[in-house]
């Protein structure tokens, strides 16, 4: 083969080089900012304008800061609870949309995409108006005043996050439901499984990657959200993005870099765990299929 080179080989080699360059640049653009962020979290300067020296004091001060820890805790609570609820509701919605035909299904289908499409700020203001009306109404009806009155807080943030996350989960799960071979479910039922058993032992495991993917997406979106959180939160409900965004006004201190580095680590661990779990489960299901 090497003796009679095809006329296209030269071109092919150049193409390959270009592709390599493309990949290298993509990685640089994607990861250089992250590397700098991590590096500057060890910078011994309050302003972080230039490299002064190595220190781990920002990690210490971050861990000592009540405000940062509370914000992190709030963010994780919101992300975890809203992801759990949204994943369950979103999966149910996806099943309903994919498996059943009902009145106004098309309308509902369209509405389901709304939170994905409309700008965050529109949804945020709508939710603020909604909560203020709702809570005001309930307080008025029950005669709640002062400290007893219901008011926005972490709970309203969680509800708001569930509201937009349902759509994301439903869309992802619907895709994997659509790819599912209906024959498998029929086969299970032919072999005597009732509907619940079929769902639990055939459908659910098969769409599990979709559900997990949707849940991870929801978790990330929730952890990341600033606009909707800000407008729906109340006393004691400052989340990490709200805290970080507020701090930038003063000086982007390396403490923020330290928080971001920790968040980066947490999300990397999450991704790795989900990959391992998925790989193992596909391995297990293929080996159990052999049995």
């Amino acid at each position: 083969m090497s003796e009679k080179q095809a006329p296209g080989t030269r071109f092919l080699r150049w193409g390959k080089r270009l592709l390599w360059a493309n990949m290298a640049f993509s990685f640089i653009f994607l990861y250089a900012p992250i590397v700098i962020l991590v590096a500057f979290s060890f910078n011994d300067s309050r302003l972080g304008a230039r490299w002064v020296g190595f220190t781990t004091q920002w990690y210490v001060s971050m861990l000592e800061s009540e405000a940062v820890l509370t914000a992190l805790e709030n963010s994780l609570i919101v992300a975890f609870v809203s992801t759990t609820i949204a994943t369950i509701l979103g999966t149910m919605t996806a099943m309903a949309m994919e498996r059943f035909r009902f009145r106004f299904q098309r309308t509902y289908d369209g509405i389901l995409y709304l939170p994905v499409i409309i700008p965050d700020i529109v949804m945020a203001v709508a939710l603020l108006a909604f909560f203020s009306l709702l809570l005001g109404g309930v307080n008025g009806m029950l005669g709640l005043e002062g400290n007893a009155a219901l008011r926005p807080g972490l709970a309203t943030v969680i509800i708001a996050h569930v509201a937009f996350n349902i759509s994301f989960v439903a869309i992802v799960v619907r895709t994997s439901l659509g790819e599912l071979d209906a024959g498998l479910e029929e086969a299970a039922q032919d072999l005597g499984a009732d509907e619940w058993t079929t769902f639990r032992r055939v459908t659910l495991p098969l769409i599990m990657p979709g559900i997990l993917g949707g849940a991870l997406l929801a978790f990330t979106l929730s952890l990341d959200d600033f606009v909707i959180s800000f407008f729906t939160t109340g006393p004691g409900g400052t989340t990490l993005p709200i805290e970080v965004f507020g701090r930038i006004r003063r000086a982007i201190s390396p403490e923020i870099n330290a928080i971001s580095t920790v968040m980066l680590l947490v999300s990397m661990i999450l991704v790795i765990v989900s990959q391992v779990v998925q790989r193992r489960s596909s391995h297990l299901s293929s080996s159990s299929a052999k049995e």
């Binding site: 210490v60 405000a67 509370t70 805790e73 997990l212 507020g246 000086a251 999450l270 779990v277």
Partner: protein, 392 residues
């Protein structure tokens, strides 16, 4: 059954990781807190359990009227957390702080009603808006005797002429920050940044605040008008000056001008005093001046929303913040000016020296040259002028 178990396991693993992270943060946070007491001021009260309500210090007021918790809505990084824990240790009131990042955010929250905050920190013009919307509570000064500590020159400002609704929190100025290596003789006029011949000597090393009121206001000052001039002819003049200057600027920057100043990426900058002080603490070459034509003054204020659940406790906390020791502790932390005359002698000498030698301190002479930025229906022209400047 097997599959179901696997799913629960996965969820369980996920939650375990999260719990681990949370617990890890929680436990490490409590350990170093004790060892770092050196950074906390010496007068910090022993953070034992909340004292018995019977023998609270006098400044805690009537213990029976105190709420167990106070909700504080503040700018980020604008309160020493030690102060909140000291107040909790002394008076048994837990202060929780939440963050907003602009006056407009704060106004939106309060306008929606039932926000649940007991103490908020609006800036001057925002106070005016909140008072007009009847969103602020009239302070009971009998509960705030420490208001006597406040500089009389900073009381009775245009937005709350009789201090019915607000008392000062922190304040600052807007002027010019410069690097002495580029300006060995110092700077005394806005011409240094507005005269094209002068600013272009520092081409690419000059920056203006990205703020329509501040940047156009400073230009108006340079031209000999007021910060709040809305005369279209004067605004057009200001626009032309800004356009002529634009080519020699590194950019418009109000977020991290303090970083670029400290890193010497910028040699002259239209800047706020607090951020410049922060830059100077990193780089001694950075100095500040209120140009001879004049600059701007702003003030953030303590106010209580009209629907706040714990009004009495909020007033007691305001009084606490206005005490001399706490006032000094606060400004040592924020790097802004304290309105508290009684606190001034107690300021950290190093910090005081930093402001004095850096040209940030304000004497009567400088004070007379400072304008407040006011907003009314005619202020919209600033947006039009700013758009014309930024668009080109």
């Amino acid at each position: 059954m097997k599959i179901f178990n696997r799913m629960t396991l996965r969820l369980f693993a996920l939650s375990l990781i999260l719990l681990f992270v949370l617990a890890g943060c929680g436990s490490t946070s409590s350990a170093p807190a004790a060892s770092s007491s050196e950074s906390a001021p010496a007068e910090a009260a022993p953070a034992e359990a909340a004292p018995a309500t019977a023998d609270l210090p006098e400044f805690c007021g009537d213990a029976s009227k105190l709420a167990p918790e106070l909700h504080f809505f503040n700018w980020a990084d604008y309160m020493d957390e030690d102060i909140m824990s000291q107040f909790e240790a002394e008076c048994g009131v837990k202060v929780t702080q939440d963050i907003f990042s602009s006056n407009e955010d704060l106004i939106a929250k309060l306008q929606a009603g039932n926000a649940g905050y007991d103490l908020v920190i609006p800036s001057d013009y925002a106070v005016q808006i909140l008072i007009n919307a009847e969103l602020l509570h009239k302070l009971d000064m009998a509960n705030i005797p420490n208001v006597a500590n406040v500089d009389p020159d900073l009381m009775g400002m245009y937005y709350d002429a009789d201090n019915v609704y607000t008392v000062p929190y922190q304040w600052g100025t807007t002027g010019l920050a410069y690097n002495v290596t580029a300006y060995p003789d110092g700077v005394d006029s806005w011409a240094a940044i507005f005269d094209p011949a002068q600013v272009c000597e520092q081409k690419g090393f000059a920056s203006m605040l990205d703020d329509e009121r501040e940047s156009i206001g400073a230009t108006l000052k340079y031209l000999g008008y007021s910060y709040n001039d809305t005369d279209p002819a004067h605004q057009a003049e200001a626009r032309d000056v800004l356009l002529a200057q634009k080519d020699c600027l590194a950019g418009y920057n109000s977020d991290n001008y303090n970083q670029t100043l400290a890193g010497e990426e910028v040699m002259i900058a239209h800047a706020w005093s607090g951020g410049t002080a922060l830059a100077r603490s990193e780089n001694e070459n950075v100095k500040f001046v209120i140009p001879k034509e004049g600059g701007a003054i702003w003030m953030d204020n303590m106010a209580i929303p009209v629907d706040a659940p714990n009004i009495y406790t909020a007033e007691i906390f305001i009084n606490y913040l206005l005490s001399p020791e706490i006032g000094a502790q606060l400004s040592n932390y924020t790097y802004y000016f304290t309105p508290n005359l009684a606190a001034q002698p107690l300021l950290d000498p190093e910090y005081h020296e930093l402001l004095e030698s850096g040209g940030m301190n304000v004497d009567d002479d400088i004070r007379a040259r400072l304008d407040w930025i006011k907003r009314d229906d005619t202020s919209i022209i600033f947006s039009d002028t700013w758009t014309a400047v930024k668009a080109r």
